[in-house]
Amino acid sequence: MTTTTCGPSSTAATGSAPAVTGSAPAVTGSAPVAPPGTRERTQRRVRDGLGTSADRPDGTPKVTGAFAFSSDLHDQRMLWGRTLRSPHAHARIVSIDTSAAAAMPGVVAVLLAEDVPGKATFGLEHTDQPVLARDVVRYEGEAVAIVAAEHPETALRAIRAIEVTYEPLPLLTDPAEAATTDPIHPDGNVFRTLPLRHGDVDATGDVVVEGTYEVGMQDQAFLGPESALALPSDDGGVELFISTQWLHVDRDQVAACLALPADQVHLTLGGVGGAFGAREDVSLQVHVCLLALATGRPVKMLYSRAESFLGHVHRHPARMRYRHHARRDGTLVKVEAEILLDGGAYASSSTAVLANAVCFAAGPYRVEAARIDGQVVRTNNPPCGAMRGFGVVQVCFAHEAQMDRLAAALDMDPVELRLHNALKPGDAIITGQRLTGTAPVREVIEAAMAHPLPPDPREDEPAIALPGGAGLTARREDVRRGTGIAVSIKNLMYSEGFDDYSTARVRLETSPDGEPFATVHSACAEVGQGFVTLAQQITRTALGIERVVLHAADTGVGSAGSTSASRQTWMSGGAVQLACDTVHHGLLERARGVLGVPDEPLVLEPGRVVDPATGAEVAIAQLLRAGPLEATEEHHHAPTSTLDADGQGDAHVSFAFAAHRATVDVDPDLGLVRVLQIATGQDVGRALNPRAVIGQIEGGIAQGVGLAVMEEILVEDGLVRNPSFTDYLIPTALDMPSVAATLIEQPEPGAPFGAKGVGEPPTISSTPAVVAAIRDATGKALTRVPVRAQDIAFGEAGAIPPTAGSTSAG
């Protein structure tokens, strides 16, 4: 178990950076992580191997500014691309006149839908989104035309010179009306309907609580806007440098739309400035390649901030109606829910987001029966897709509020109620799938609760430490403190029968100075999560060498799948492990020959191979004189099945759990909140790089706090009202609570090194924990996030009462 505490934000304000206390977070009480290669074990450990908080190879360049993000890409001869976007949320395109734009000096190309040589549409799961709108636009910001010009300002002027005549069409903006309204797309208005029936769906409990909940539209708000550089290649194909989450799925969509064979489209990862799901869909990929091919010149595209807000998918807004049944002792009997997600104008990954919302609608609890009805629909609102937490964030906000309601109705401690129902290994979730791996739900809850609460307010506390902070709004006596808890379950990897895999190539050779070094080639998109560090750590430990070079992530090697679903440590880490294993075997093979011991079990140690029986040894460098060793391996996870007509099936690979306890100070009169502390316990399997895990936990909590009290894309009649960081606010260092984290390390069977993905859980239950804490401080019901100041000042009081159908309120 690893416990780390990060300095409170007030510490940061007085000058010392929030630091991990108690020296570097070390994994204590756990055996060293086993290297790959089951029989042979490394006796002495290589520096910066698995289990250490090895430095990121891109850490220093990122801090000093030397790191090149995709927005820094440059070519001497490049043109600048720009997109004309629809100002309407739903309109017919009557005519487009590009003559004035095309005639402008410095404008090299103006392209419309008819200039797309291949498939007219793209999409992650359903190709329903036009590359360029032809006859109708379905959301504000939909791409209508693209231009390339010698100068970015010229490109901007050119798109303004394009005359488009629109005829506005009736708006479909209420998701509740989508299913019964005339289709706004040939594929219809319903992306997916997913019913789930589990156990005795007519069962009833002694106590019933119900509630209606809403989640607003959150944005991933990465700091590096969409950007790319495309270069025409000699074979008539195209070379694309791009910040993305999944190179190969981009490549396939680009190739289809360009009518090129996939091998003529080569993608290389540009430096990624954050992703969080928003880079999983195609944004400018096809556009920039089209322009490069049409002009025969390199073309760069770089979105403005406002364009970025319109140019990528967001988190699905949700409306949820819940009813929980329990016995008088708190045992959950049945969970009923209706879940409606607004998918916006195009499908993106909506169908998979809905599956997550439905499968995890009851949370990390054992429940005998469930009746869940989920639907995700098309509207003229901005398209929604992947975002950290992927469908689980929405339902977790609702089921955790329900658990608090239930606790109140039973007059039971909310923590006690959760512990009483917590899933254990061997239990089934509501899809009927049994938990065959680790499930330390009790442990994460206890770990979160075990952290000391933040100190009581001091009389002489500076006003800046109170809610309202810099505004000096609150007086100590106006402030009330509250604490809340929330727990989550998240699937790791892709689900529902998808045969997911990752590829890695590892090459071991000696440098001109005679030192052995390895090169790892993977298409895994590094989006900040630390795969680059992990790939080095795995290779060091597996091959007993320190120097590990990372080949640029590109499509020159097989797919690594998406950097999403908390999957890359497991999937691409596993692929690197397999490739290292093969190289490792090759090394031992050679060593047996050199040492003349054909049958001895040899051991790889840092820099050499040793025969433990005789003590004879041979240096790795010497073994490589016969030439490099190279292996390319694919790693597949255990297969999953689809969900049947009742939403039942073993659809998921693995599950991760987290608990968050939030402490807030609230000024109830003004409705202002300061989140003081988040204490968390997280099920990580194994912490392969504890510092990287803590980084994921802190970052995820920042996004969870953001959804709780700050972040929402405001959409009115389909139009985004706040596409800027002036109006869409995310937490800064001043808003961040202190984070106290305990890592629960129970190695997951079947996972490479026993490690679970850690990126999403911190985002999921931190939001409901913060809201629960605000409810605790104010007694308000607060059934919608983000919670606004006026919801606290004016919101419906009386909080979380037991409601209709309750035969007893304890």
């Binding site: 300002e153 901007l156 002027r157 303004r160 009389e459 506390e461 500076p462 006003a463 800046i464 109170l466 309202g468 902070g469 810099a470 505004g471 000096l472 709004t473 609150a474 007086r475 100590r476 006596e477 106006d478 009169d669 003004l670 409705g671 202002l672 009290v709 700050m710 405001l714 009202r721 706040n722 002036t726 109006d727 606010l729 995310i730 937490p731 800064t732 001043l734 808003d735 606004r788 100041a789 006026q790 000042a793 004016f794």
Partner: protein, 295 residues
């Protein structure tokens, strides 16, 4: 989008005023550029010529005590200069308090006092403070010099009484005498967000009684405003906390407000009532253990 512009860097005020006197509203002074560059970026303003004030700073950034005991603030002093000036700390703690929490230090290092007035953005912190301090703003053009009372300065959304050909040269704050004052604001979301409400309140006392009261609100509507009814209710009186609460409630009820994305009109009215009460309790020393803001 801008189709290109020139930057002039005059070496004297006269030269700057001549440049501004072309009768062309796309010729504009630029101080710290924090406000103007955003307007340009969004295409709301496309200048032909920007008149940089940077060479005028040496002569127009002084902060001095005037013979009558008031303070003279050079218009080209940055907000950070003012925040750091001992004279401001000593004589105008209200201003210092507001500046110390205005946006971020990056912004305060760049933005100038003249810009913080002429920008005319309704959500700024400095305007209500200048109203509460009875500031007098000295402006000049080739037509001559004049003084505009802070009271008459702010006319609406991005609109002030400063004419296109005029430059703000300095701000004079009359002597404030014995007084207590506070600036409180509400940033509903992020810590360093723009205010959604700013309250500057000041009372000068003579014996037990309030001899002068100034209360100004910022960020609510298209311009900052004084609250004359509150001021006259306080003036000459010695209110207790119940009266203060009533004064604040009545003031809030009388406001003409409209819904905004982050705050309904009802919520805005509510926070004025709560916040104004707290501000007055603080400066009247009626707060039961009120936190000492801004010291």
């Amino acid at each position: 989008m801008s189709s290109g512009f020139t930057i002039e860097e005059p070496r004297s005020v006269d030269e700057a005023l001549t440049l501004l006197a072309q009768g062309d509203e796309t010729v504009r002074a630029i101080a710290g550029g924090t406000g103007l560059s955003l307007l340009m970026k969004y295409g709301f303003f496309e200048p032909a010529t920007l008149v940089s004030l940077r060479h005028l700073r040496s002569s127009l950034a002084d902060i001095e005590v005037t013979p009558d005991g008031g303070v003279r603030l050079g218009a080209m002093a940055t907000l950070r200069d003012l925040e750091d000036a001992p004279i401001v700390a000593e004589r105008l703690p209200l201003l210092r308090q507001a500046l110390g929490r205005l946006a971020t230090v990056r912004l305060r290092n760049a933005a100038q006092l003249g810009g913080a007035i002429a920008h005319g953005h309704p959500q700024m912190d400095t305007p209500p403070v200048l109203l509460a301090l009875d500031a007098q703003v000295q402006v000049a053009s080739i037509r001559g010099a004049r003084t505009i009372a802070a009271q008459d300065m702010f006319l609406g959304y991005y609109e002030t009484a400063v004419e296109d050909d005029e430059l703000i040269l300095e701000v004079r704050i009359p002597p404030q005498g014995e007084h207590r004052a506070t600036y409180r604001k509400i940033t509903a979301r992020a810590e360093d967000d723009w205010p959604m409400l700013g309250i500057a309140a000041l009372v000068a006392t003579d014996g037990g009684r309030i001899s002068r009261a100034r209360v100004a609100l910022g960020a609510l509507t298209d311009r900052p405003m004084r609250l004359p009814d509150v001021e006259s209710a306080l003036q000459g009186s010695d209110p207790g906390s119940d009266e203060v609460e009533a004064i604040a409630r009545d003031a809030a009820a009388a406001l003409d407000l409209y819904d905004k994305p982050a705050a309904s009109a009802a919520y805005q009215r509510h926070i004025v009532a709560v916040h104004l009460r707290r501000a007055l309790l603080e400066i009247l020393d009626l707060g039961d253990g009120s936190s000492k803001g801004g010291r």
